[in-house]
Point group: C2
Chain length 478, copies 2
């Protein structure tokens, strides 16, 4: 063709005749030839309109049968890469103008970032070094080496039955919650549990009360589920449904952290719990109870879950394993009151359940008691770490930060002392520059932000915590 | 109190004095006592208003120190379960009217359903019996026994780097796609990949063209992402963007299955592919390429992915491991053109990635070549099964169903022959009653449904397929 430069036509022919097809390869010769020719077209070596040698010439040059050559050319003609012109031979299709030659080397592009170890005081990170990895690996291996039939069946969107059994037993022992396995739906985390509950029980545009300050990812998940989050300021006793309902009488649900307010750590007193249950019953509304790290209680017994109190069965319990084992597990669950289960049918049919891979291993880990033993061990470890952090803060920053012992959890909240004048967000940025993850408390608020810091201690050993507090002291007293 | 029946007051006292606290237990005696008393209140044994024995009496009856008794009562008073009345002792709080006694036995509730084995002709189910479970279990064990630091770091929302590397290598070898690992985002499946792409690139209310018939879960995922799916009828060559764009000129994206139309199996010819790329470039629109089971090609070489053709870099490739390994893995991925990566920053920060647990194992499984060997083995197996199914249909149902060999995939589509007069949905229901999962083709259409059946064969061995066809013949000729 006139518009094909001679040079590119000839370099195409050179490349084509230089092909070495492998007679010993698994792929038949005609497949190898078609594949090579297709790549030449896609990479621009064979430009649109270029003439393809006749099958006879091709066969001779490549030492293949003419049938092999014809088969390859026919395949590419069928695919649209080549076109034949009556009496004029075969050409690279001329209607391929948009093909830009992709490079044969990997496309220039970013490589994945190196993953970062959590920096002190990242909250919500369990101590993964203390995790019994060998045990866990063995449970994984055992569960999948000769998987039982249920693991090869159609995955139940509600999750693996043995894990649901184990969670029911765990909730009874640790949270005073008597539920059956059939009420438990495994999810890929707490936010997915909340979204699933919302999809089953609420309508787009429904208003959901939540605590201010609160957990931002839950707010984002609500918006994703087309709900309207309505944060309401808590007081010293935590969330007050009566005051919140006065502000937003049309709310259809409330998301609360009654065991331990996030992030302030307040335990919701019984009268406020009862008022929540009463409000939900009177309004036909729902309570989403996010019980995010209640297992780590260092002083006294944890209050039973709000769900255990709720005789009217309008409370949905949300649990997660991300703080008990690892955020990377991506396993959480929702506990649904029996009377509400029928409303979950349609939502469950859409529910993209969690990966089945860790589920049988986690079920075994729980059934053997190893999980409870690990929790108890972590409880002791984290209690010591909290003490270390508090002591270090009192020693190095007595006038800059004020923090009191917290009976539970994986982080404490420190408030500014008289010597601290910089805004918490500024301190947070400075801390980032010296390798600390210091979350400003003000960021957890929707309105009327308070100053302070959320300091996670669970994931860091005592020398690390002490060194981090010294680093922080360097920033604050600069 | 007058309103507390004498009998319940006395049965409470009996229960309380019958308590046996364990001196050897890990929990201190006051914790055990508070816990027991709390349970009595929650279960209704200690009704609101009931009088609690004085700490002196309690200590004497239970053989504990008076300090132990006082500490327990103080804790429950602080929690709101008990209240003290000036000079009149301690009572179960009277403002607990909504507590209905939860039963101590597990709540009556449904047990999880027994999981069901896939029935013939369930489509999209790989042969899990042929899966190399022992190898896979060993990879899981090895990856987690002494996990490398990256597995214990903060999880990268884009997924585990080694898996992204392995997928890039797989795409280059199998799909002619040269991309870098940094362009790959691991997701919990194909629908999540589509939703992530939509969140990054589109706005709520944007119209997305899709093929009619098509894959219903993708349509549902679009609606969840606040997009407006616009199915457009395909013709014998598959999806025609020019005709679709005339019908819906404001479409901002298109979701297509160019390698193998779902469910009809049509391979989109090159001119139509180029028209798609041209349309996207001219309109600043996007192409979502769902490449759902292109690895199983029995005849000829697969066409390279549409993304490999797209010089203008507006095609996002969606892959999944659900048909290659198991739907229970819940692993898929999205390949993003380099120039679009910056737009994924905010969407990735919200992205709840897939479980990390299977990711290092899958990466090793791919790097060792075992994954490719498994795919090749499955390709041979599935090719034979397709042949068996076609032969059985031709033998047992020559006048009722017409099906032709399909060069790829895990299912075939059978069309009604002259002897079949019942609607496909009726036959589907009858088939369900005899233990077959026979998907009516009409159900895949939004408009102008065609009659037929989608028959999956990949997950069933040859005797099972033959028996299933005989069963189906029993229904159709009845």
């Amino acid at each position: 063709m006139a518009n094909i430069e001679k040079q590119s036509q000839s370099s195409f022919q050179t490349a084509l005749y230089a092909l070495s097809l492998e007679r010993e390869a698994a792929a038949p010769l005609h497949v190898q030839l078609a594949d090579a020719l297709r790549r030449m077209i896609l990479t621009g070596i064979a430009p649109p309109g270029a003439r393809v040698p006749a099958s006879r010439a091709l066969a001779a040059e490549l030492s293949i049968s003419r049938m092999t050559a014809t088969t390859a050319l026919d395949q590419l003609t069928a695919e649209g890469y080549l076109e034949t012109r009556q009496g004029a031979g075969t050409y690279v299709a001329s209607n391929l103008p948009h093909i830009s030659p992709p490079s044969r080397a990997p496309a220039p592009g970013p490589e994945p970032d190196a993953p970062t170890a959590p920096l002190p005081f990242h909250p919500a990170i369990p101590d993964l070094a203390a995790f019994p990895h060998a045990l866990w690996a063995r449970h994984l291996e055992r569960a999948w080496r000769r998987p039982e039939p249920a693991l090869l069946a159609l995955p139940d969107p509600a999750g693996y039955a043995a894990l649901r059994d184990a969670i029911a037993a765990h909730l009874s022992a640790w949270r005073g919650l008597n539920v059956s396995a059939g009420q438990i739906i495994i999810t890929s985390g707490a936010t997915q549990a909340m979204a699933l509950a919302a999809r089953a029980l609420l309508a787009p545009g429904d208003k959901v009360l939540m605590e201010d300050p609160g957990f931002a990812p839950m707010k984002a998940a609500m918006r994703d589920a087309d709900l309207v989050p309505r944060p309401h300021a808590i007081d010293t006793d935590g969330f007050d449904i009566e005051s919140a309902a006065r502000d937003c009488p049309s709310a259809r649900a409330v998301l609360v952290t009654p065991s331990r307010h996030y992030p302030l750590g307040i335990t919701l007193p019984l009268p406020r719990r009862l008022a929540l249950i009463d409000w939900a019953a009177r309004n036909g509304a729902f309570i989403f109870e996010d019980d995010y790290d209640s297992e780590f209680r260092y002083v006294g017994q944890p209050l039973p879950a709000l769900s255990a109190l709720d005789g009217s069965h309008r409370t949905l319990y949300i649990g997660s394993f991300s703080k008990l084992l690892s955020p990377a597990l991506r396993l959480g669950y929702l506990v649904v009151p029996v009377s509400l289960l029928p409303r979950f049918g349609p939502a469950l049919s859409h529910h993209q359940g969690a990966s089945l891979v860790p589920q049988p291993a986690l079920a075994n880990f729980m059934e053997t008691g190893e999980f409870a033993a690990h929790l108890r061990k972590m409880r002791r470890l984290y209690a010591k770490r909290q003490k270390t952090l508090l002591n270090a803060l009192a020693y190095h920053l007595p006038d800059h930060l004020t923090a009191t012992p917290d009976p539970s959890g994986m982080h404490i909240v420190a408030r500014p002392g008289p010597a601290l004048t910089k805004p918490d967000t500024v301190v947070g940025q400075q801390a980032e520059q010296v390798g600390l993850t210091l979350r400003p408390l003000s960021r957890y608020f929707s309105k009327h932000p308070q100053q302070g810091f959320v300091l996670g201690y669970a994931g860091f050993d005592e020398p690390t915590l002490e060194a981090a507090v010294k680093k922080l002291a360097g920033i604050l007293s600069a």
